[in-house]
Every structure is written in C-alpha cells, then in structure tokens.
Symmetry: C2
Subunit: 348 residues, 2 copies
DNA sequence: CTGAAAGCGCTTACAG
DNA sequence: CTGAAAGCGCTTACAG
C-alpha cells in the first residue's frame, strides 16, 4: 500500500513521531520518551530540548490511537448514561465527569442510552471496542442498575449495582430528608406533612424514612394522613397540594419529595389565599434552580450532590482505578439551600 | 517484549482477529472482510458463516483503535461544547448528537470547555490526537464562535463561525419572534410590549427585529416605550415586569425574550392582582419546560430547535462530511407551544 | 544517555 | 474465493 491508500496524517499535514525524531536527529525511541515526559534521567536535557523544539516547529500532535494500542492504556473514560441527558436533574454529573477528566488529560466517550436503557449492551460493546480504560455507568435517578457482567472495570454513578463488587455512589437520601424535616421542627413546626411520589423509586422509601426518623427523634407523633402520595407532573402535583390544604387541622409545613411537587403547593396555596412562608412553610428536594429560584418566595430545598458524586467518582477511578475503590455503596451528603420558603408557624 | 509487558487483550480475555481466523481456519484478511461486512462477492457464504460463528463463540470484540489506525477512519465524532452543559437550555443538542451518532454506529468524544471557552484549544488538540473524523463545535447560546484554524473538518452548532467556509446552523430567531408577535396580533392585541435583554447577545437584535416586523406588517405603530430592557436573573425579571405593568396605557400583551422573564411577569402580575391571560397575555421564548409547565396557567412560548439542529447537523456530517454541507449559515424554524397564557384582550 | 527492532491488532492492495 | 505480507504510529524492553 502507498501513502495515498488511506487518509494519512501526511495528507492532513499531520507529522508523526518519526518526523520529529528525524528533525531532532534522534531515534523515535528517544523522541517518544521526551514527548511523553518519561525522559527524566534517561535523556540529556540538551537532547530533550531539541526534541521539544522540533515537535513544536512542525506542529506535532501525538496519535492517541497508536499510543493506546501499543501501551494498552487509552486515558479514555467511557460513560454509559441511562437517560441522564433526558432530565434536567442529572446533567451536572456529566459536567463533573468531563471537567475532572479534562483536568487529568483524559477524554470521555459518552453514550446516553435513553430512558429505556435498551441500548445499554450495545453501548458497552462500543466502549470495549474503543478500549476505554474504565466505564462509569450513570443513572438518571437513584436506582438499581444492571451492570453488564462482561464489564470488568466499571463503577456506578447515582445508583447501586445489581451485583456485588461494584463501587457505587448515591446521595444520602435518608439523612437529607432527616435534615429537611428537622429544619422545620427547629422552626417550631409540629404538623409537618410530606408529599411524596407514587412511583416505586427507592428515594421515596428512603426519604420517607428520614422524615419519620426526624419526627421520632423529636417526639412528634407520625400521622399517616399527613403523607400524601401523588404523581410528578404539574397537574398531579396540584392534586396532591389540594389534598394537603384540605387536611384538618391544616399542616403548617410540608416537606416535598421534589421541587416540582413544591411548585404545585405554591400554585394551590396562592389560589387558596395562603401566604408562603407565613401560613405554610415549604421545603423541596433536588434544587432544580429553574423551579426553585423562579418561585416567589424562592424555594428552600435540598440540593442533590450530583456534581460532587461524579467529581469524586471520576477522580477516584482515574487515580486509583475501580479496584482502588470501596466495592460497595458510598453515600454523599446533600446540602440544604435556604431561600425563604420556611418560617416559624404563626401559631407558635 | 512479551505478552506480559502490557495489559493485553489476552489477559483481559479479549480475543483478537487472529484467534477468530485460526478458529475459523481462514486468514485474518478473510476474517476481517467478513467481520466488517465487506465480504459480499468476495468470500463464500460458507466461509463467512464459519467466521461469524467463530467470532461469536469466543466473544470477539473488534479493536476500534487498531481499525482506526489502519484505515484512517475512526467513526468517531468530536464535540467541543462551550458551556453547553452549564445551561439547561442546550443539553438537548448533546442528546441529539449522541442519538444520531449511535444510530450510525459512531462514537462521540465530548468535551465541555465551560462557560469561558478558555480550554477550547486544548480540547481541539485532544480531538485531533484521538483522530476523530469530524468536529462539531457547539455554543450554549446563539453566538459567534471562534473556530480554531487548525481544524479542517469542523461545523458549528447553535452559532456562526468567525471565518467563512464553515457550515453553521442556528435558530431562525427573527422569524420566530415575528410569529410570536403575530400570534398576539391575531388575537386582537395592539398594545404589545416586548421585554428583552440588556446583554448584547445576537438574539436580542434578531428577536426585536421580528417583533418590529410583525407590528409593521399589521400596521401597528412601533412604540419604543413598550420595549423594556433588563437582566436575566429572577430579581431583574421582576424589575422589568414592574416597569411593564407601570406603562400607561397598560399593554394587553407581552412578548418576552425568554421564559425566565415571562416568569417575572407572572409573579408581578399576580402581586398586582392581574389575571393571565384575561388581563395580560404572555408569550415566552425557549420553552424551558421546568418554567413553562410550572407556571399557572402554563406558558405559551417559542421552542428553540436545539434537538432538530443537532440531529440534522450530526446526520449531515456523518453522511456527507462537512464538505457536503452548505458552507454558510442554515436557519432552523422554531415551533410555538401553546399552553394557555394568551387570549384576546378584554377590551377588544 | 541513545538507538535498533519488535509488536499492539487491524485493513488493504496485491498475487494467486 | 482466499492468503501472505506490509504497514498505520506509537511504546517498550533490551543492548550498547
């Protein structure tokens, strides 16, 4: 074959290592050593300088494909996201992965398999084919994740694996719900309702647990009638909110499973002529700023640690590899963002 | 060197083409032909079957690095995003790129250089090093994009290049603003205000143009006092909205530069005791559903064609290459989403 | 401190 | 219809 058979680097004016070596009058071995920073104590400073200058002069860019094939390491991270980009909730995770990876000089191959998670197998094959060093499997919300068995170096972000031995990181839902509820208790509330979801997502149980634990810790009786279950969409959030406001005696505070449900409470409270926070304190969950900052007053809510989880996991994987990680579930704390939707009860 | 020097496919139990060929009792040339689908009329059906069976039996996954190096094509798309993941506005573009690429069997290397766009050069070097076939440069909002000169096969998504010869795609802002305004005119409004941005982003001028054109097309006098300029944050949106409501005679409708500003109008209208849409019709822009569906009533707004732009561009690049594209600006239409925040004026 | 040479796993003209 | 062999651009023991 000739140089014309394929779209060569030469055609695209991409010089290769041999040309750098030739120009610097050294072997490709020496040039490689210098250009990959492995030259200390092995190549004289003068030679190294010559190589670097030559590389700069002809605009050398190393072919990562060739390097990866020879060395067996690609400095490439595969991210198999399951619908992460379909939600505004979790995009921060991708952002964190990209940022942390870039800081380490790593690249990221991203594949979002969509809400169904159907294309997951294909995505994994693709990652293997591209020889990524590690795979991060990211879930759009805290849930159980099916981890392909043919994937050795895998970790799970925002979910837990269906098999043991896989490092996972999730938000500490129960603790967050405990703190949110305790915040309301500290303000003097005792009739605290909880609006939650009808779906079976794990966070529902974990946050309910935190809510109950907080009540119990402060000797407030748990009243099942104050736990309202409804859907996620705006109309369903409205329905839940109406049921909340119909409770007698009316709760003076509500802890909502997410910000969308809190938005429903705002809409119905205004329609009923109630003031927030004077007549009703509201705490949300997620901190979708598009919702929380556009409500009036701004919504006090628990921020999910999407960025922190992804940042931590990415750095850990790059620095230690999945093997260096605790092979189990790591829980990360959520932080409460105070904006003005809570106050002491008027009756206090 | 020996097989133990590097982390080989053997260690990871990754069979290579030679093993497939050996098992199928053919040469690697024949195996390669079959496994890359180039065997029609070149390899007998029986031989092809043997190869495919052998590959399946030993769980062969082709090494895309080696294939890419030899063939000069990687079926890999580089996406240099400039803060796209930092905004809820434009994530749909990434989603569309990933989906379209996956459908063609392409992988995507994603790099978000953050809001500043500082790391753009590094990102480009990275892409070149990884030998991506094409690069898509994506902007977080419609704006001028500095396209690195050392990047031959590049196209711009949601922006326009600073140099000629680069295919670009952007939303048709002027037409969208024209249609939004015309919708209000068709309902019978004549006192139509426009709340816009103080920043110098290009969309400000383009949408103002569409607003003015629509008024002119329907012989409604343009009144500069009805164009209110303010910032983007909730408090600034509130300030703009207050100025709107202080106008005398009060406009019966308002076309907002974005949904966040429309949310400010809702807040202030409610505080002033005005009903939407009876007393004031509101049209937004962007269709951030977290805002538009959580307002009461739901916000009628122009949806930006982020998904469509990215989908179209990705398919075009993969199928034709950047060279096959119109080397200039392509404008894509926005679609109006009707939700109930507009109605005929009461005085009509 | 430096270089010659092997080899990563594939694809591709080319010869038969 | 099939195979032998070259070569993509690197990195890495190894020899000197």
């Amino acid at each position: 074959m000739s140089a014309r058979d394929v779209r060569t680097r030469e055609e695209a004016m991409m010089p290769n290592l041999a040309e750098v070596a030739q120009r610097a009058k050294v072997s490709t071995a020496t040039a490689s050593l210098v250009l990959s920073g492995k030259d200390v104590g092995r190549v004289s400073r003068a030679t190294a300088k010559r190589v670097l200058r030559a590389a700069t002069e002809i605009g050398y860019v190393r072919n990562a494909l060739a390097a990866g094939m020879r060395s067996g390491r690609t400095s490439c991270l595969g991210v198999v996201a399951e619908g992460v980009l379909s939600t505004p909730y979790a995009v921060d995770m991708i952002k964190a992965v990209l940022t942390a990876a870039a800081e380490h000089g790593w690249s990221v191959i991203l594949n979002d398999t969509g809400d169904e998670g159907q294309r997951a197998h294909e995505a994994v094959q693709e990652m293997l084919s591209r020889q990524v060093d590690h795979v991060i499997q990211a879930a759009m919300y805290h849930r159980r994740v099916d981890v392909p068995s043919d994937l050795p170096d895998v970790v799970v972000l925002n979910g837990f694996a269906d098999r043991p031995g896989v490092p996972c990181v999730v938000p500490d839902e129960t603790r967050a719900a405990f703190e949110a509820t305790e915040h309301l208790i500290a303000l003097g509330h005792t009739r605290i309702a909880h609006i939650t979801d009808t779906s079976g997502v794990v966070a529902v149980g974990l946050r309910l647990r935190g809510y109950r634990d907080a009540l119990e810790a402060h000797a407030i009786a748990y009243d099942e009638r104050r736990v309202i279950r409804g859907g996620d969409a705006p109309e369903q959030a409205d329905a839940s909110a109406r049921r909340l406001l119909a409770l007698r005696p009316r709760p003076t505070a509500v802890f909502c499973f997410n910000d969308g449900m809190a938005a429903g409470v705002y809409r119905q409270a205004y329609r009923a002529g109630l003031r927030i926070p004077e007549d009703l304190s509201v705490v949300g969950f997620d901190d979708l700023t598009l919702i929380s900052t556009n409500l009036d007053p701004g919504l006090t809510t628990m921020r999910l640690p999407h960025y922190e989880m992804a940042d931590w996991l990415t750095r850990a994987v790059i620095n230690d590899g999945p093997g260096g990680l605790h092979s189990g579930i790591t829980r990360m704390p959520c932080r409460m963002v105070h904006r003005g939707s809570t106050a002491p009860p008027l009756t206090a």
